[in-house]
């Protein structure tokens, strides 16, 4: 019987069909802002992944005269070295998204594990972790990150590590709170009385419940990470070998007297617009997801 199910081609099609249906249902549950945000994020991901297909000029060496206004071959003009700006922006999307994704994964998973551990185990470990989280919350992150970026050296990998180091507290806190309330649920207690092991309970019962909250938190984290990377690059603490949008802005602003020239109209405005668009989209999408994932918010309204 099992075999006949596998052999049936209609059943094979059911899985992508289900996914498609779920996708449509998810899309419909989003508000107009969530739809907008998701569209922009997907477009940016496509832009970043397919950067070689969308650009026709090199992103790291000069391909024309310096400071050409947008038009002709240079879709968005060139910078002071004659490097095409559109190519820089496409490849810069890779840096921004990599930082966002890397930090979100690292901090989200790390914070999630810490949160589950603290909530599930309790005891002095929980107290220490909670105290640590309290400290992390009041610390002013940016000055610390400036110092850490200077201290670690500002390669892309280090920036992601520093960002993750200072953003795990948010997912850890909400996951712990959720675990605490889950732990008291009847079915968890029942599973325990049937002799379910810790790992079984965590994987089988906790993770499916925690995943939506963690996903929302990770979207928030990635937005925060992209902003902070841009801020660090803007301060001149970015990775000089991988040109992010923040670094383009930094270069443009370091061009003395840029405000007295027309150059800012493309050199500064385009990276600025892309950065702002991506950040705002992530925030709007995250806000919408929060509304869907957390039923309490809906009740409150």
């Amino acid at each position: 019987m099992y075999q006949s199910q596998v052999m049936n081609p209609r059943l094979l099609l059911r899985v992508p069909g289900e996914l498609y249906k779920k996708g449509i249902a998810f899309w419909k549950s989003l508000s107009i802002f969530g739809k907008f945000g998701l569209t922009v994020i997907l477009a940016m991901i496509i832009l970043a992944v397919g950067a070689p297909f969308f650009t026709w000029l090199p992103h790291n060496v000069s391909s024309g005269p310096a400071l050409v206004p947008p038009g002709g071959d240079h879709l968005m003009g060139t910078d002071e070295m004659g490097v095409d700006l559109w190519s820089q922006i496409c490849y810069g999307a890779r840096v921004s998204l990599l930082v966002g994704l890397g930090t979100a994964l690292l901090a989200g998973l790390g914070g999630g594990i810490i949160g589950i551990w603290a909530g599930y185990r309790g005891g002095w470990i929980e107290r220490v972790i909670m105290r640590l989280i309290d400290i992390m919350i009041v610390l002013p992150d940016l000055p610390i990150m400036v110092i850490l970026a200077a201290f670690f050296g500002s390669s892309l990998r280090n920036i992601i590590i520093v960002l993750a180091l200072f953003s795990w507290s948010h997912p850890a806190r909400i996951i712990r709170a959720q675990v605490l309330s889950l732990k008291e649920q009847g079915y968890i207690k029942m599973a325990k009385s049937y002799g379910a092991g810790d790992l079984y309970i965590i994987f089988k019962h906790f993770l499916p419940e925690l995943f939506p909250i963690l996903a929302v938190s990770m979207i928030r984290l990635s937005g925060m990470a992209i902003v902070t990377e841009a801020a660090l690059s803007f301060l001149g603490l970015g990775d000089p070998t991988s040109k992010s949008w923040g670094l383009i802005i930094n270069h443009a602003l370091n061009f003395s007297g840029i405000y007295f020239t027309p150059f800012w109209k493309w050199w500064l405005m385009y990276p600025w617009a892309f950065l702002t668009l991506l950040i705002t989209s992530l925030a709007l999408f995250g806000r919408d997801l929060e509304r869907i994932a957390d039923p309490r918010v809906v009740k409150r309204n």
Binding site: R131, V138, L142, V146, G153, V227, L268, T276, I279, R287
Partner: protein
């Protein structure tokens, strides 16, 4: 107690970090700027390392650092060759001014707009304001600052491009105040705009909750005017959570100020911090970081105490 631990963590972190930084202040001093290259000989290096106490064991350096700190001594800047505390004191007022100004302005704006939205709940006014605020609250301050700088300073010439006051001008009295305010206007507006969204959302929410409370219904039943109910009965209770919110936002506010100062070349601690990072000036960096962190922590401590005074419900019960 919590704060004491946090203070110690910050001080220790502050002590350890620069010592683990790669690079070497002497290396940097000897190769900076291209033109004024002067190489240190091995003896000179040795002399300076001993002079600044960098060859001692770490615990001894730490003890020295702590005792110095208590006496208000943050060491000597490698780069500026001046007391760190006096350099910071010179720059601190500018940062304090824009942070305080932005906090007040964002509070004022957030409260006014938030209560406006709460009273016109679900109307098109509320909805459009809500959308605007959400978008604004997500744009980081320095990106906002760049746009304001381009539009109002470079484009229209309404505000100065950089600095905190006009140089080579001897203004007195009122003229001087006007000049300083004129320079501070854009940084303060930028920071406030970036922060106002969070306050707006909080006020809008709490106001709506408060307006549904029993004591508001009582006030209505007494026949009080809508104005008196809103601004005397509701406002006081709706503003309470703001105390905590402002303190919690202080970290983000200070971070924003560091960046915004760099956008507007405003001579506060943020600008100084960037310069210190570039020349690897350990003591100066430490000092700036310490002052910023203490400022944020102090604000939180203050808010905790203030909340206890303002909210009678927390009085009498001991919260650790």
């Amino acid at each position: 107690m919590e704060y004491a631990i946090t203070f110690m963590v910050i001080i220790t972190l502050n002590f350890m970090l620069p010592r683990m930084m790669p690079g070497d202040p002497f290396l940097h001093l000897s190769g900076e700027g291209g033109e004024e290259v002067w190489a240190f000989t091995a003896e000179q290096r040795q002399y300076f390392i001993e002079y600044y106490g960098l060859d001692r064991p770490l615990p001894e350096q730490y003890a020295r650092y702590l005792t110095g700190l208590i006496q208000g001594d943050m060491g000597v800047s490698y780069y500026y060759k001046d007391q760190v505390s006096s350099i910071i004191l010179r720059r601190l007022p500018w940062t304090l001014m824009i942070v305080a100004g932005a906090t007040l302005l964002s509070l004022l704006l957030g409260t006014v707009l938030g209560s406006f939205s709460a009273f016109h709940r679900e109307s098109w006014k509320d909805k459009s304001l809500y959308l605007l605020m959400i978008v604004f609250s997500e744009i980081p301050a320095f990106l906002l600052g760049i746009v304001l700088l381009i539009i109002f300073a470079a484009g229209m010439g309404l505000f100065p491009l950089s600095g905190a006051m006009r140089h080579f001008a001897n203004y007195t009295g009122w003229e001087h105040v006007k000049n300083v305010l004129h320079h501070a206007a854009l940084p303060v507006i930028t920071l406030s705009l970036a922060r106002v969204g969070g306050i707006y959302l909080l006020v809008r929410n709490t106001f709506t909750t408060v307006m549904g409370k029993d004591y508001i219904r009582t006030a209505r039943a007494k026949g009080l005017t809508e104005k008196r109910i809103r601004y005397y009965h509701a406002l006081r209770n709706a503003l309470l959570p703001l105390v905590t919110r402002v303190a919690l936002q202080m970290g983000a506010m200070v971070g924003g100020a560091v960046l915004v100062e760099n956008v507007f070349a405003y001579p506060g601690l943020g600008l100084l911090m960037r310069q210190a990072v570039f020349v690897r000036d350990y003591p100066l960096l430490q000092g700036i970081f310490l002052v910023l962190a203490f400022g944020v922590l102090g604000a939180n401590l203050l808010a905790d105490l203030l909340y206890r005074v303002l909210d009678p419900r927390t009085r009498g019960q001991e919260t650790a």
